[in-house]
């Protein structure tokens, strides 16, 4: 079961259609069963039965998740692959001691991989949709995987199977989510 985590300002918010359902659509079309839960309602049991976890993005003005670090402590313990998308990457970075810096990006941007990784195999460069008000200063224990002209676009934990991407793969880069869902565990 794939666990899709909603990071929006409240459960069943108007933003869920925009930032959670498109990701759920990719998971569904890829043939995986999934469950959507709001980040404030995750339990140890929910996390224990998840095979992979996706942390979804939020609206540009929605940074409520960043003020609730207590909801993301589990990221330091989890042992299944996690992909944090935009706000998901930001929450992941904060959970490991990283910081956010104001850096607005709206629209298509060129992304260039700076380190080989199975997640971006055969895609050394691609164009991606960015929608964020802050970029990430990645924490210790993580490596840069991809950058744009303005900021880090992807990171990976050096030990745990944790990925963060700042761009929105649900727009024109669904392959990133599909790759995350299907790539062998060991490749992490």
């Amino acid at each position: 079961m794939i666990l899709i985590v909603d990071l929006c300002y409240r459960e069943r918010s108007l933003s869920e259609y925009e930032f959670v359902e498109p990701v759920a659509g990719i998971v569904h079309r890829s043939g995986f069963p999934y469950r959507i839960l709001h980040h404030s309602h995750l339990t140890a049991r929910d996390l224990s039965v998840a095979e992979r976890i996706l942390l979804c993005g939020t609206a540009l003005r929605d940074n409520a998740f960043a003020e609730r670090p207590e909801f993301f402590g589990w990221l330091r313990e989890i042992r299944v692959p996690v992909l944090g998308i935009c706000a998901g990457m930001q929450a992941m970075a904060l959970a490991f001691g990283g910081t956010l810096v104001p850096e607005q990006e709206i629209g298509m941007t060129e992304v260039r991989c700076v380190q080989e990784d199975p997640l971006f195999e055969r895609h050394p460069e691609f164009t991606a949709y960015g929608l964020h008000g802050s970029s990430v200063v990645i924490p210790g224990g993580f490596s840069e995987l991809a950058v744009s002209s303005s900021c880090v676009q992807a990171m990976r934990n050096d030990v745990l199977p944790l990925y963060g991407i700042l761009f929105h793969p649900e727009v024109r880069n669904e392959w990133v989510v599909v790759r995350f869902l299907t790539m062998p565990w060991r490749a992490c």
Partner: protein, 226 residues
Amino acid sequence: MKLGVLFSGGKDSSFACWRAMQHEEVACLISVLSRNEESYMFHTPNIRWVPLQAEAAGLPLVQGETEGREGAELEDLRQVIRLAMDLHGIEGVVTGALQSVYQASRIQRICADLNLWCFNPLWHAEPYRYLKELLGAGFRVVVAGVFSSPFDASWLGREMDGQVLRDLEGIAHTHRITLTGEGGEYETFVLDAPFFRKRIAIQAAEKDYRNHRGTYRITRAVLEAK
């Protein structure tokens, strides 16, 4: 949260409005009347009937005009949104954008500049599921314009129903159009919606069609009790 809905009178902005109403407070509709028929951002064949739709919905309408020149029309949109902020205290904007990064990112930038939330509740919605939900919810929608092969004049003024959906699916398959008309292949006009207090009755309309391009221009319409 008080929201203003960018409203063109077509199915997408109407459905986005309805979704917004289920989660937040819709304080007003916002529309921009473009004098440029080629405007990619704003032009629809029956934009002049938006005030009647707003009256049907019982919602205030903040309306602006634009010459429709690229770049300038975005500044005109910004001014109308700012007016909606002043008049109705909106804290965010809702759009009916489905797939267009061009449209969505421009409106996102305006909202960011004005410190407003931006919601796109149809963003990357699965097309068939969305249209089924639209019709199932009780929206009454007519085809107000066609701008692509193989649409012929018979499509103009046709009310969307299960058969239209099946026909659109067939055309989408054979002619590579988008099922929702997101690529500008067809335009729609909403006669009734779950949030309308009254419905619109078209009393007269003109069809103009040539070379796979045509419009169904409403010339007389009134509100009816539901």
